[in-house]
Structures are given as structure tokens and as C-alpha cells.
Symmetry: C2
Subunit: 406 residues, 2 copies
């Protein structure tokens, strides 16, 4: 008997009908002869509604209290899915994150899982139960409730799959898998039947919002294959795994984009040790997440330093950087908040020349100016004008013939 | 520094504004130099809404799952009250029933408290926190969430007060205390400044819904004075305690009534041992709660046996009783579901003759026929026609001059 961990997102359990539909899918997995552990998110907009309620009461709700409040959303969903299974005469039991042994540090609102004490889950499986676990939450060793932050329920599911030695973590939402590009932008975009962890990590980090990089990282660390599929259809989805891959992979796999990009350039920076550290340590202390960093080659020991941040953090970042720029003797500090990112990603790119040239050529043909370039072994990213990002995605998808089967 | 336990009901925390109002009351208690532990119910109709949601999914929700589901309502309220205190710069922390150490048996939906392990509450008080506890819930030694059933949050509050050695348990709802009669029926009804546990128990059992007898029983057992007052006014409320009482008590204290009464009479029962047992054991097995039982003196070893049940249980009770009546050779089985109960209650009645006579006389003057009479040391109850109950309450309140100060 195989053990399968499934995870259903908020839209999949948004109302009573959808919860019954999800229960039927779970029952089918059970009928196929599997042990099943299910992780659920909160119903529909529950989490946002609870946050609004808290803000009606207190401008800046305490993070411990907010975590306890939000954790109730997933608990509610877990009991309802369990009741739906009971209604179909399947043995099932709900467990909170604490009961399922999801032990975390005490960083409220963004707790990290320290370990999973899965005895209770195992004993319920041994009793023949389908186990429905409230996602997104854990408990500290002081018995305080925490939430895991963004990507939390996915992380719960992958962590449970790793701890229980499940064969696969099946993650169901309202999207059908990972595509060669966002199908809303590229009509001919094609679903990928499989993708590597490293490729998926780059995709997720560079704009594909289907799955949070954190869950993918954990899957890679414990070698848990993650199926990304829709709970509303029976289409096969995309399997994220570590290989080996059956197909020829000598090509780009997917185009990602991200419209939430603002750039800061510190112009005329003396090129001496400690300058970059002074800037980025100050930003980190202020809670600004810095994304891409590019420093040009210096001329006469003077260089320009550019980096990108989320648009919502631009004002705060400028406040931090301006006085430092002055102190270190930089000429000026400029910013641009009308930018976006476009990336091509594929493990097959790493030993194959010509991808970068083709990418830059394609953008150039479309009259798109490149502001910054950064690359990894399996990714090339160009920062361009925000208004031209979708054109760029379409053009790159065609230039790399991503609509064709691998 | 005195320790005070306060409990706020669902209407007192029904929305953000009321929650802030409750927080101001709590803060005032703190400012008066007290340590404060607060027990809260779920906001407004939350519990009913959650039950409806469960019933959309499953006709008969499993009681373990329903308990987990319902427990979230009080947890939500506890975090919001805590946030409201934070918003006013008071140190506060919310605890679930489990965290507050409310240990129960595993009778889901009507769990009994086995003990209160109050170390966590004490340590939070020692840190200077106001402690806000989610009422109505506990945890089994297997770490499963339970709910305490009717009167649950009141019971949590009194149990915590007993365990912590609090000087008083202040219970705030939308009613201003215990009255000499229901003020909606008797305009001149008067709030009682204090009442004994035993009197309150009789009142609560015989129709006064202001506080559940279970919490009063627990208060009596551990000698915790319970103040019943309104969270919407600053009026003084009613203190339920064990005495001594300052006032002259040689009179009736309050009139209670209950409209939910149906009567079954088994006519022509052979008066021999075991007959009553056969009937009432069968009713208990069927889950029918029997209230008043009256058996007339037998003539020629034949008697009539009458008892009352809630109207909603009449049909079920008749199904159980009819075949037994046949088996034991009773003549017939009759029922009446148009009845009500009216009671006068007062510790001062117990050694004073004349109360029963005055009660029966008053009812007779009003042309009200008495169907059944039962009494305890401090209570006289008459079962009468339902339509005449309110007239009876008014008449008795006047006959016993309850509007006058003690």
C-alpha cells in the first residue's frame, strides 16, 4: 500500500460543494489502494477576512496573536473535509498542525519547521483513518501556535511527505500545472509533464507564482516528488522531481516574468571593500528584500551599483540608501519603478551556447532595451521596461519554440 | 493584588466595537490594581454559523470533528480581545482551552472538566500579562480538543477561578443580573443584589436562563462567588455566593417559569416494586431527560404515574413508554403538551409555613388549575396550563410582594 500526501488550496475548499468534491477525490485515491494524508488551506478568502477583522481592532496586531487567529482558518477547513469523508462513510480524522507534530521555531508569521513528530499521524493511518491536517501552522516547544508564512500549506505537505516517506506529494489548486509560459500571456503555452527541482526553483523565484520556492526546496532536500495539478479537472499536471528525465532536455523550458520590479542605482561609488556591505546590511536591517544586484566593472576605481527591490519597498529602500550613498561619497542615487523582469529557464541551457545571444537578439528585434542582465547556470534574466514585459514573453516563447514538445 | 476572573458572553464580543468596549472594561479592572484572567465566548452567532456550515457538508457531523470546529470560535474571540488590549498598550496574551490547562474527559460535545493545570496561566500572570482564555473548550489527555456543552464558557471561568484561587468570577452578558421575576413578564421585577448558590441552582433549573446550573454548582463546590452583571452598563449586578447574607431572608426570593413542559401520565399502574425503574431506565437509554416525576398515593394497589419532559422529546418518550405500559398492565398512557411550570424559590421559605398555601390560593383566585405540584426545601413548583403561565408569574410576584426590598 502506497502512502500519498495530497494538498488542497483555498479555492479548492472554498465552499461546501467544493469540499464535497475534494472529499470524492480523496476517496478515489483511497479506493485505489493508498494510505492518504491530506493537508488543507483555509477556505477561500478566510485568511484575508480574519486579517481584516484583526485590523478593525488593532492597527498592528501582535504577530503571536495573529498566528493563533489565522491558524483557525485551516483548522475549520480540516474538520469540514473530514466530515465530508464521514458523510461518504470513509474513516477520517482531522489534526491541527500541533497534533500532526509540525514543530517550528517561534518566528511568528514566518515560522520555519524544525522537525515533524509524525507518530500521531502514523497511528491514525494504522487505525485505517484518512488523516486531514490543517496546513500553514505549527507549534513551538513552548506550545504556542505559529504560522509558516507564504507557501505555508505547501511546506506542511512536503514536510509531512518527507517525514512519512510518502511516494509523492500531490498539490492541487486551481491551476493545471507548470507551463512553458503564463497561458494568459502566451496562448500557445504548453503544460510541462515534468520539471526538475532546480528549474522549478528558478521559475518560482523569477515570477511563476504556481508554487512557492520554499516547498520546492524542501522537496529537493528530501527528494519528495511534487505533483502540481488542478483539483477541478483530471488532467495529469506537472511532476516536479529530481530526475532522471526521459526526454531530451537540451533546450529552454519556460519563460517567467515578474512585473513587481523597481531598480535603485548608486552612481559613482568608490570601488573599495566594505561599500556593498554597508549598503546591503542597512537594507537587511530595515527589512528590505533585495533581489538582483549588479555592479559594473569599475573605471578609475569608480563604479555604479544597481539592485532591484519590490515596488512597495522602493521608498523605504531609498530612505536607507540615500544617506549611506552620501557618506561613502557616491555621486547620486537614482531609481526607476517602471520595470519588469523576463527570464528563460532550462537545465538544458547550462552547457549549450547561444541561448543568451538568442534572447538578447529577440528583445532587440522587438525594440526592447535591456536595463540589467543577470544569469545563473540554468537561467538568463533581463530587466526591461514594465510595459514591454508581456511582448517580451510572447516573443521569447516563439523564438525558443517552447510550444513544441520536448 | 487581587486576582479576578471575568467572563464575557457572545453578545458582549459580537463585533469589533464591542470587543474594544470589553477591552476597556478589562483595562479598568487592571487599573484598579487587580490581576485579571478573562474567559470569552465566541462572537455573536459564530457557533450557530459553524454548526450550519457543518450540516451543509454532513447530516450528522461527527462529534469529535464538530468540537474541533466549534472550538475555533472562542479562539478567534480570545485573540481579538487580546489585540484590543494591545491596541490600548496593555500586556496581554490569549490561550486556548488546551494551553490554559482545561483537561477534560473525552465525551465530545459535553465534556466534563477533570482538572485545571493552571501553570501556564500563572506564569503569564507572573509576567504581568492579562490572560485571555478561549472558553467552552478543553483537551483530553490524548491531546484531542473537546467542548464543554451548554454553559461551557461559564464553567471554564468558574473552574479557572477555583483553580487560581480568584476572589470572584465576574460573568458579564447582556443581562443585568438575577431578578425577582423575568422583567419582560413582570414590569415591577427587581434585581436581587445577592442570592445563595442553592437558590440560584433551583432558579436556573426551573427556568431562569441567565446562568447555567452547571457553573453555579461548580461555584458552590469550590466556594467561588459569581457576579452576574451586564457588560453594557455599570450597574452592580447580582452576586451569587454561599452567605452569610446580610439581609433578612425570611421570604420568597424569585419567581421562575418554564414554557417547555409536556406531561405523560401512565394511568392505572399496578403499585409494585420495579415498575418505575422499568419506565425510567428505558427513557434514559433512549436519551430522554425526565424532569418532574409525581406518583399519586395508590388505591387498591393501583396508582397513576406522571412525569414531565421537554416538548421536543414528547413523541420519543411516548414511543418508549407505550409498550412498557402495556407490558406492566397499565390502563392507558396519556399526554399533554400545552403545559408550563411556575416556581417560587427562596431559602427563607424552608422553615416558614404558609408559602405553599399562599401560592395555591393565588393561582386559584386567578382561575388557574394546578396539574402537578412538586417541592424542594426551598422551592414550590406548580405545573399549569401553558397559556396561563405568564398571568401566574405576575400574580405570584404581587402576592409575595417581591417588588419590595428584602
Amino acid at each position: 500500500m502506497a502512502l500519498i500526501v495530497q494538498k488542497y488550496g483555498g479555492t479548492s475548499v472554498a465552499d461546501a460543494e467544493r469540499i464535497k468534491h475534494v472529499a470524492r477525490r480523496i476517496a478515489r485515491t483511497r479506493e485505489a489502494g493508498n494510505e492518504v494524508v491530506v493537508v488543507v488551506s483555509a477556505m477561500g478568502d478566510t485568511t484575508d477576512d480574519l486579517i481584516k477583522l484583526a485590523q478593525q481592532i488593532c492597527d498592528k496586531p501582535d504577530s503571536r496573536e495573529l498566528d493563533v487567529l489565522l491558524s483557525t482558518g485551516e483548522i475549520v477547513a480540516s474538520t469540514l473535509v473530514t466530515m465530508a469523508l464521514h458523510g461518504m462513510d470513509y474513516p477520517a480524522i482531522s489534526l491541527s498542525g500541533a497534533q500532526a507534530g509540525i514543530q517550528t521555531d517561534s518566528s511568528y508569521s514566518r515560522a520555519r519547521i524544525l522537525k515533524v513528530e509524525s507518530q500521531r499521524v502514523k497511528s491514525e493511518l494504522d487505525k485505517g483513518n484518512i488523516v486531514i491536517v490543517a496546513g500553514f501552522q505549527g507549534i513551538t516547544n513552548g506550545m504556542d501556535v505559529t504560522t509558516l508564512g507564504r507557501g505555508g500549506s505547501d511546506t506542511t505537505a512536503v514536510a509531512l511527505a518527507a517525514s512519512l516517506g510518502a511516494g509523492v506529494c500531490q498539490r492541487y489548486t486551481d491551476t493545471e500545472g507548470i507551463y512553458t509560459a503564463d497561458p494568459r500571456v502566451v496562448p500557445e503555452a504548453r503544460r510541462l509533464p515534468e520539471i526538475g527541482y532546480d528549474e522549478m526553483l528558478e521559475l518560482a523565484t523569477y515570477g511563476n507564482k504556481v508554487i512557492h520556492p520554499r516547498a520546492v526546496e524542501l522537496g529537493e532536500l528530501y527528494n519528495v516528488p511534487i505533483l502540481v495539478a488542478s483539483s477541478f479537472t483530471d488532467r495529469p499536471g506537472t511532476l516536479i522531481h529530481g530526475g532522471p528525465f526521459m526526454e531530451v532536455r537540451n533546450k529552454a523550458r519556460s519563460v517567467a516574468y515578474d512585473l513587481d520590479v523597481a531598480k535603485i542605482t548608486v552612481v559613482g561609488v568608490p570601488d573599495r571593500p566594505g561599500i556593498a556591505a554597508a549598503i546591503f546590511e542597512a537594507l537587511a536591517r530595515a527589512g528590505v528584500s533585495v533581489d538582483t544586484i549588479v555592479q559594473n566593472a569599475s573605471i578609475n576605481n569608480i563604479t555604479d551599483l544597481s539592485f532591484t527591490v519590490a515596488k512597495s519597498q522602493l521608498a523605504k529602500a531609498m530612505e536607507v540608501v540615500r544617506p549611506i550613498a552620501k557618506t561613502i561619497g557616491a555621486r547620486e542615487c537614482t531609481s526607476d519603478d517602471k520595470l519588469g523582469k523576463v527570464s528563460i529557464i532550462g537545465a538544458g541551457m547550462q552547457n549549450t551556447p547561444g541561448y543568451a545571444a538568442r534572447m538578447f537578439g529577440t528583445l532587440s528585434e522587438k525594440g526592447i532595451n535591456i536595463e540589467l542582465i543577470t544569469t545563473s547556470e540554468i537561467r538568463i534574466t533581463c530587466i526591461i521596461e514594465e510595459a514591454k514585459v508581456k511582448d517580451a514573453v510572447l516573443a521569447l516563447h516563439r523564438a525558443f519554440e517552447l510550444e513544441k514538445e520536448d
